[in-house]
Point group: C2
Chain length 219, copies 2
DNA sequence: TATACATTCAATCAAGTCATTGAATGATAG
DNA sequence: CTATCATTCAATGACTTGATTGAATGTATA
């Protein structure tokens, strides 16, 4: 007995969901959301062997979540389209609202470092116009170079201690990173507060800003 | 070695995605999107044994996708919130845009029965105001009773042939069903066209209409 | 209180997924 | 046209998931 079109569609949708159903693949997607990347770069950042990363990437590709192109000896992967960002955003939203586990992690780790409401994209746009804030990008320099918020200053988290002098203590700092729960911006905010700065984080990361069409700069 | 908060969050998000990663569970969710249902009703409609349906429901519950309450001897399940509809919608959108398999199924089955662009919710609202269309709900009577589009006529697909006389041949018919690719409305449209009616389908189903806040009627 | 009935649990087996290893591709550079 | 290097493939074993069966739980009615 062959399955009907209804089951075939459900099976197709399920195959996409299964591709999202692994922490390593979600992490790879977060990195790809920053921009195109090669297999080796992704494997390093996600802490995977190259062969393992390659296999996860191929699963993501089969599911239509990422696309790839060859550039010389390298194969560069990217998100298939901005709909994938929306899908991951919905996933996060549902998990935030309905999973006690997420609440536990947020309370136990993230809220310890930032008890304040995040700044929304609209609020940040408004305040930047008034010149009242320093927008701080705490991602590694190569990700910053590939694209960042207009006027943002790049101080990777690892350099923050050493480069505090570059920040104006009179300005409020709004820090952002790769995504809503990217650890870098939370760490940055905790460090800055400890030094007496006024610091808050952007509600989510660079990819969402870009996808919202609010304009980006590249190096 | 304990995992950090970043990996823990990815793991939590992945657990939600995994719950969506099975055709039977997606089908169960489609039925729950119509309204609250007991285990037995769901198991019948999805073609599963009761024990199997119960286990899938518990996975969905653990993932925060559905909630349940006890009513006498029955346990009634429902979607956890409307965010779940949004998540499934994103999933469908990504699959539609990026999976060749979906394109194949749509071409091979659905477009054979309805080659026309679907009517959007806004278009339908407008035309109903002018009294130009018959809104046809082809779901089973109990789903219709639990909630339907304002002014809709209920003729379950199984009764359609016998009840064609109830439909005004001068009106355009807009048929809808459980969701965008619900087979019932496609079959209804093919049958109606064959009888000389002008028939189109709504872009998606009852749950999306309700979630859009456009108003519903109950029996 | 005993019985019926809806649902869940527990145990089983088959099938699928994951990470690792080492070999195989396929493109560039000499 | 051979060597090199990035990536992918194939095979393995540990682990997880899915469906089935029959027993257990818990609520309502006689």
């Amino acid at each position: 007995m062959s399955i009907g079109p209804k089951q075939a569609m459900f099976e197709a949708f399920a195959s996409v969901a299964r591709a999202l159903g692994h922490a390593h693949r979600l992490e790879i997607l977060e990195h790809l959301a920053q921009g195109e990347r090669g297999v080796e770069a992704l494997s390093e950042r996600a802490g995977l062997s190259i062969a393992n990363a390659s296999q996860h990437l191929q699963q993501l590709k089969r599911a239509g979540l990422v696309a790839s192109r060859r550039d010389g000896k390298f194969v560069l992967y990217r998100l298939a389209d901005d709909g994938v960002l929306g899908l991951i955003g919905s996933l996060r939203q549902v998990a935030e609202r309905n999973l006690a586990e997420v609440d536990r992690i947020v309370r136990g780790y993230f809220s310890e470092r930032d008890s304040m409401e995040p700044v929304t994209r609209a609020q940040l746009l408004e305040r930047t116009r008034d010149g009242l804030v320093t927008v701080l990008d705490v991602r590694p320099a190569d990700e910053f170079a590939a694209g960042h918020l207009p006027g943002a200053v790049n101080i990777p988290l690892s350099d923050l201690e050493a480069r505090l002098a570059e920040l104006d203590p009179g300005h409020e700092i709004v820090a952002y990173c790769r995504s809503a729960y990217c650890v870098l911006s939370f760490e940055a905010i905790a460090a800055l507060r400890a030094r007496g700065f006024t610091a808050r984080r952007l509600e989510d990361g660079y990819p969402e800003w870009r996808a919202a069409g609010l304009g980006v700069e590249t190096a």
